[in-house]
């Protein structure tokens, strides 16, 4: 006999606040994605570089980022780096999300390039292409097809992971929600609404990605 009854008015009354938070979540995720792409490309190629020092450094980066919880990383950047220079919350959030996501993208890129059969590189080199030409004209176009789907999943993870920036004061959907819970004392309604909003954001993204994937496959043959 629960006396609890759902009161959705707290959600509709505070809709604008939640939307503001959601918009911030989208923005910060996109900005972090943009910064994590070059990290992923550089580290990913570093992982398969001929130079053993570069390979070691890239490998160490990936292992450390994979081994440290994002929450700890964010705290460390915000407080630790904040001790030395004045870091704004947003900047710390972008650095944390981008370096973290970059490591996972690096692994995806590395796997994508390595999944292209060895014979493709050999055929390209045998025809007189330099390794850079072979990479550009033969390997990467094939790797991209393998990289796209897992990168898209990774981006969805990034959007969800970005909820952790609320602990360092990032004014995202999660923080807006937490604040509303504190003032309205309606945690179930608020958190349910937040869950639905996160789901809608990631599901729409999934649909967009699926559409592009399908279009790419149709073009192939």
């Amino acid at each position: 006999m629960s006396s609890m009854s759902w009161d959705w008015s707290v959600v509709s009354d505070n809709w604008e606040v939640l939307m503001l938070g959601a918009w911030f979540t989208i923005k910060i995720s996109f900005i972090a994605l943009i910064f994590s792409l070059p990290i992923g490309i550089i580290v990913g190629f570093g992982r398969i570089a001929k130079n053993p020092v570069i390979r070691f450094l890239a490998g160490a980066y990936v292992e450390i980022m994979r081994g440290v919880p994002l929450l700890v990383l964010l705290m460390w950047i915000y407080i630790g780096l904040g001790d030395v220079v004045n870091v704004e919350t947003t900047v710390a959030a972008v650095i944390g999300l981008a370096t973290f996501n970059g490591a996972f993208l690096a692994e995806i890129f590395r796997a994508g390039v390595q999944a292209v059969p060895k014979g493709q590189m050999e055929a390209a080199r045998a025809s007189g292409m330099t390794s850079a030409q072979a990479m550009r004209y033969i390997i990467l176009p094939q790797a991209v097809r393998r990289i796209m789907p897992p990168s898209a999943s990774q981006f969805i993870m990034l959007i969800k992971d970005s909820s952790l920036i609320s602990v360092i004061g990032g004014v995202d959907l999660m923080l807006k929600g937490k604040n509303l819970v504190a003032t309205t004392l309606k945690p179930l309604e608020i958190y349910t609404a937040i869950a639905v909003i996160y789901f809608i954001m990631t599901f729409v993204l999934s649909l967009v990605i699926r559409y592009f994937e399908k279009r790419m496959m149709d073009k192939e043959q």
């Binding site: 059969p117 014979g119 493709q120 050999e122 055929a123 390209a124 080199r125 045998a126 025809s127 007189g128 292409m129 330099t130 030409q133 004209y137 033969i138 176009p141 094939q142 097809r145 192939e220 043959q221």
Partner: protein, 242 residues
């Protein structure tokens, strides 16, 4: 045209090539035959430096292939290579496969490259397959596209590494015919093959390898009727009597 001198190569303790010496004069066709593991594929792959060598020298058309000062990319444009597994670019059409290197490496215009590409594909019986992706072609058709791709660079030398071994039996002939037409046109070629009839018919010399060494070199008329070495006699007995 191809001169291989004292070439050695090993993987750890395993000697894959031992003191290889071989001369291939211009317009000659050489068949490399022998049991698997003899080093035939390794040897042919050293001729365009897809494999490194530990010592010795390989000279193709006057250029020392394994010399560090050699621009290997430039040297490779003169050496066509055809793989057992075709290795066509799956995301490019047959014609694009053929025009890729002439455009990107030699800097040919798209028009010139396509004109030549269409000519070659047509000669090889693929006149209706310009726009087909490799995935839609049979093995024999794919290998003929691969031959056109290599010939499109106008090389002086063509290397074939078991070009028919991955094919269904009924497609072997069309590929061998394509290779034969190149031989007839005077192309210098080295062919690793298990097709003894083909080797007998088009090759100037048979090079028999076993355990990383060249055991016997002889014209096909001699090699197939009166092989001098015991190793070659055993091999021929095994492959011809079945």
């Amino acid at each position: 045209m191809i001169s291989i001198k004292n070439v050695n190569k090993s993987y750890g303790d395993h000697h894959v090539l031992t003191d290889i010496n071989l001369e291939v004069p211009k317009s000659n066709v050489i068949a490399l035959i022998g049991p698997s593991g003899a080093g035939k594929s390794t040897l042919i792959r050293t001729i365009n430096a897809l494999e490194t060598i530990d010592s010795g020298e390989i000279i193709v058309d006057g250029i020392s292939i394994h010399d560090k000062k050699t621009n290997i990319n430039k040297a490779r444009t003169n050496i066509g290579f055809v793989f057992q597994s075709f290795n066509l670019y799956p995301f490019k059409t047959a014609l694009e496969n053929v025009t890729m290197a002439p455009m990107k490496v030699k800097g040919l215009s798209k028009e010139a490259a396509e004109k030549r590409g269409k000519e070659l594909l047509t000669q090889l019986g693929l006149g209706d397959k310009f726009d087909a992706y490799p995935g839609r072609l049979s093995g024999g058709q794919q290998q003929r596209v691969a031959i056109a791709r290599a010939v499109a660079m106008d090389p002086e030398v063509m290397l074939f590494d078991e070009p028919t071994s991955a094919l269904d039996p009924e497609m072997v002939k069309e590929v061998l015919d394509a290779i034969r037409s190149l031989a007839d046109a005077g192309m210098t070629m080295v062919v690793v093959t298990h097709e003894m009839g083909f080797a007998k018919e088009i090759c100037n010399d048979i090079v028999f390898m076993a355990e990383g060494k060249i055991v016997e070199v002889a014209p096909p008329s001699e090699f197939f009727t009166a092989p001098k070495t015991v190793r070659a006699q055993e091999f021929l007995k095994a492959v011809l009597n079945h």
